[in-house]
C-alpha cells in the first residue's frame, strides 16, 4: 500500500500546484473585469433620485475601504491569507466573511447536485445496458432516442418546462426557495419535508440533464465489451449467464466512473441556470450575484471552491481507477 500512498502524495502535490495556478489566474481575471465594486450601488442610488454627488459620497462611505494597493501586493496579501484559510470579506455584504457566505450556500448546491447525479447515473447506466442488449428491438431503440432527446435539451429550457408543468399547471411543487419560510430551520419533520419538497424540481433537473449522457455512454461501452474476445470466450467455456453479465457490467462501467467523478465537479460549476430558475440559494447563484456587483473576494472564493472541487474529483477518479482496474496498478 506504500505505492498507493506515494501516488496519493504525488497527486495531492500536483493538485496543489494546479490550485495555485488557477487561483492566480482567477485573481487577476476577476480584477480585470470592467467596472468596480459600488458601480451597481451607485446606479441604484441614481435611479432612486439622488444626484451624482450624493450618490458618489454614499458609495464611498460604504465601499471606501476597498483596497487601493497595487494589484500585485493585493495578490500577495490574498495568497498569504488564503494559506491561513482566510478567504477575505465580502465587499457587497460589508464585513461578512466570504467563507461564511460560501458555507451557507454550499449545501444547497452539493446535496441536489449529488442526488441528481447519482439518480441519473443509476437510471442511465441501467437504461444503457438495456438499450445495448436490446439494441435491435423497438424498445432498445426507443430508449436510445430518449437519451439523445433529453441530452439535447438545454438546462434552462428543461428547468422552465418542469416549472411550467409541476408548478404553474399542476400546483404540485413550489417554484422557489429551499423551504417554506414560515418554518423554523431544524430537524423537525415539517421543515425537512418542506426542504425535500423544494429540492425535488432541482434534483430532477440535474438528473435529467445527465441521464442522456450516461445512457448513451453506457450503451456504447456495453456494445464494445460485448464484442470483446473474452466475452465470446466466457460463452464458449460455458460460464453461467449471471457470471457473464457480471463480466460485461464491470468492464463496461469502468470508463464511466472517471466521468462520474469529473461530472460532479463540472455540475458544481454548471449549477447557475438551474439555481437561477428555481431561485435556489446555492453556489451558482452566489457566484452570479457576486459577479453582478463586482464582489471580488466572493467571486475569487467561489471560483476557488469550484477549482478545488474539480481537482479533487479528478484525484478521486484517478485513485478509484487504480483500485478497480488492475491494468493501471503498478
Amino acid at each position: 500500500m506504500t505505492g498507493f500512498a506515494r501516488r496519493l502524495a504525488g497527486k495531492l502535490l500536483a493538485g496543489l500546484v494546479m490550485v495555485w495556478v488557477v487561483v492566480t489566474f482567477t485573481f487577476f481575471l476577476v480584477h480585470a473585469l470592467p467596472g468596480k465594486p459600488g458601480d451597481v450601488q451607485y446606479e441604484s442610488y441614481i435611479m432612486q433620485g439622488f444626484n451624482p454627488e450624493e450618490a458618489r459620497a454614499k458609495v464611498t462611505a460604504v465601499y471606501g475601504f476597498t483596497s487601493h494597493d497595487p494589484l500585485f501586493s493585493q495578490y500577495l496579501g490574498y495568497l498569504g491569507r488564503l494559506l491561513h484559510g482566510d478567504l477575505g470579506q465580502s465587499v457587497y455584504y460589508s464585513g461578512v466573511p466570504v467563507s461564511h457566505l460560501i458555507w451557507s450556500a454550499l449545501p444547497w448546491t452539493v446535496l441536489p447536485v449529488l442526488t441528481g447525479l447519482l439518480v441519473s447515473f443509476l437510471i442511465g447506466v441501467i437504461a444503457g445496458v438495456i438499450a445495448a442488449v436490446k439494441r435491435s428491438s423497438r424498445w432498445g431503440g426507443l430508449l436510445s432516442v430518449s437519451g439523445s432527446l433529453v441530452a439535447g435539451v438545454p438546462s434552462f429550457v428543461l428547468a422552465l418546462l418542469l416549472l411550467l408543468v409541476f408548478h404553474t399547471e399542476w400546483h404540485l411543487l413550489p417554484d422557489a426557495g429551499t423551504s417554506d419560510i414560515t418554518l423554523e430551520p431544524g430537524w423537525s419533520p415539517e421543515y425537512v419535508g418542506s426542504v425535500v419538497q423544494h429540492a425535488v424540481l432541482p434534483v430532477i433537473s440535474y438528473a435529467l440533464l445527465s441521464y442522456g449522457g450516461w445512457l448513451l455512454a453506457m450503451k456504447s461501452s456495453v456494445i464494445t465489451v460485448l464484442g470483446d474476445d473474452f466475452i465470446l470466450a466466457s460463452e464458449l467455456r460455458g460460464l453461467a449467464p449471471v457470471t457473464r453479465a457480471r463480466y460485461i457490467g464491470r468492464n463496461a462501467i469502468l470508463p464511466l466512473f472517471t466521468v462520474l467523478a469529473l461530472s460532479f465537479g463540472i455540475m458544481f460549476a454548471g449549477s447557475f441556470f438551474i439555481e437561477q430558475t428555481f431561485d435556489y440559494p446555492g453556489l451558482g447563484e452566489l457566484l452570479l450575484k457576486s459577479i453582478g456587483v463586482r464582489d471580488y473576494p466572493v467571486m475569487a472564493g467561489a471560483f476557488l471552491l469550484i477549482t478545488v472541487a474539480i481537482i479533487a474529483a479528478n484525484i478521486v477518479a484517478d485513485l478509484c481507477y487504480t483500485l478497480i482496474d488492475p491494468r493501471v496498478r503498478r
Binding site: 474476445d229 473474452f230 466466457s234 463480466y247 464491470r250 468492464n251 482496474d325 488492475p326
Partner: protein, 338 residues
C-alpha cells in the same frame, strides 16, 4: 473410438444476397487419441466449422443442416440453454488464438477459474485449483504465480497455455484450438505445439487444430483435413496426405509452403484468390477456377467427398494419379473415383 462425428454440416450466413453457405455438407470424425489438423486459407470456413462443434455459430449465421454427435452427449446442435452450457467447457474445450484476449482483464486467472468451476457446479473447487496448477506446471509455468496474475501480466505464449488450462481443467475430452500458433514467435510456436502434443497424449484427447500453417501442423498432427470454399476437399493420415496429395488444392498448398532448409524460391504461390461467401461457385467444383487440372465436369458437377483407401477421402473429378504426376492430362477422366 470416435469422439466427435460431424455429419453433412451446412452453415449459412445471411448476406445482402440471401443465405449463403460458409460450410457446405462437411463431414469429419475426431477420434480419441488423434490430433486432426484442419487447414485452409482464411475464409475457407474452418473457424465457422470449429465454432459449430460447440453450437456457437455467430450471428448472423445459422446451422442449415447436419449434426455434431459427441460421444456421451448426443447431437450438440440440438442442445440449448443449460445443457449446452455444460457441454461447452465440460466436454468440449475451446482454445482461442494467442493474439486474442480470452480472459477478463479485471480478474485474476485464479478467480476466473473459480467462476468457471461454479458455473459448471464443480463441488470441490480446491481440487479444481490444484488440477489447474498441475496443468500449468506441466506446461512449464509457475502455477501459483500464474493463478495470481492478471491477463495483462502474462505473455502471449503464457496466455495461450492458460487458454489450454481452462479448456482442459474440467476434464474435457475434446480439445479444439483455433489458430494456436498465429501471433506467436517461432520458439513459442514450437513450445505451444509441444505442450499440445503432451497434454493430448497424457489425457487421450481428441484434438482439432485449426490453422493455415501447414508447416506447423505437420509437426504434431496425426490426420490432416483440407478445407476450401466451405468444403472439406481432402483428408487422411497426415504423412500420407503430405507425401501423396491427391487433390489439386492440397498439392498447391503444400507446394506453396516455404521450408527452412531448402530454396525459398522452390515455394510456388497459388495463383488467384480464395473465394468468399459471395464469390464461391454455386455449381460445380469450388476450386475449378484456380485448378490447373480442371476438366469439363468440374464446371457443372460438384465432386462428392469419396472414401478411398487407407482412410483417405477426396473430392475431385480428376484421377489421383494425374494429380500426383503433377502434369494436367487431357480433359477426359470424369468420375471422381480415386
Amino acid at each position: 473410438m470416435t469422439e466427435v462425428q460431424v455429419r453433412d454440416l451446412t452453415i449459412e450466413y445471411q448476406t445482402s444476397a440471401g443465405w449463403l453457405p460458409a460450410v457446405a455438407g462437411a463431414s469429419l470424425d475426431l477420434r480419441a487419441g488423434e490430433i486432426t489438423g484442419l487447414v485452409g486459407e482464411s475464409g475457407s470456413g474452418k473457424s465457422t466449422l470449429a465454432l459449430a462443434l460447440l453450437n456457437a455459430v455467430p450471428e448472423p449465421g445459422r446451422v442449415a443442416a447436419g449434426s455434431v454427435e459427441v460421444a456421451g452427449v448426443g447431437d450438440v446442435l440440438s442442445l440449448s440453454g443449460k445443457q449446452l452450457r455444460k457441454v461447452r467447457g465440460g466436454e468440449l474445450g475451446y482454445v482461442f488464438q494467442a493474439s486474442q484476449n480470452s480472459m477478463n482483464p479485471l480478474k485474476t486467472i485464479g478467480k476466473q477459474l473459480l467462476d468457471l468451476g461454479r458455473s459448471h457446479e464443480v463441488k470441490d473447487l480446491r481440487a479444481l485449483i490444484a488440477r489447474a496448477k498441475d496443468l500449468a506446471n506441466r506446461m512449464g509455468m509457475d502455477g501459483d504465480r500464474v493463478l495470481d496474475s492478471y491477463q495483462h501480466q502474462l505473455s502471449g505464449g503464457m496466455r495461450q497455455r492458460i487458454g489450454i488450462v481452462f479448456a482442459l481443467v474440467l476434464n474435457a475430452k475434446v480439445l479444439i484450438l483455433d489458430e494456436p500458433t498465429t501471433a506467436l514467435d517461432m520458439l513459442s510456436q514450437a513450445a505451444v505445439l509441444d505442450i499440445v502434443r503432451t497434454v493430448h497424449d497424457e489425457n487421450q484427447l481428441s484434438t482439432l487444430i485449426i490453422t493455415h500453417d501447414i508447416g506447423a501442423i505437420s509437426e504434431i498432427a496425426d490426420r490432416l483435413a483440407v478445407m476450401y470454399g466451405g468444403r472439406i476437399v481432402e483428408d487422411g493420415p497426415l504423412l500420407d496426405v503430405l507425401r501423396r496429395p491427391t487433390h489439386p488444392y492440397t498439392r498447391a498448398l503444400i507446394g506453396a509452403t516455404a521450408r527452412i532448409t531448402g530454396d525459398v524460391d522452390a515455394a510456388r504461390a497459388l495463383p488467384g484468390r480464395p473465394p468468399d461467401l459471395t464469390t464461391v461457385a454455386r455449381v460445380g467444383c469450388v476450386f475449378r477456377d484456380r485448378c490447373p487440372f480442371a476438366v469439363t465436369a468440374c464446371a457443372d458437377t460438384e465432386p462428392p467427398l469419396v472414401v478411398g483407401e487407407a482412410g483417405r477421402r477426396r473430392a475431385c473429378h480428376v484421377e489421383p494419379s494425374t494429380v500426383l504426376s503433377g502434369t494436367p492430362g487431357t480433359p477426359a477422366a470424369v468420375g471422381g473415383q480415386p
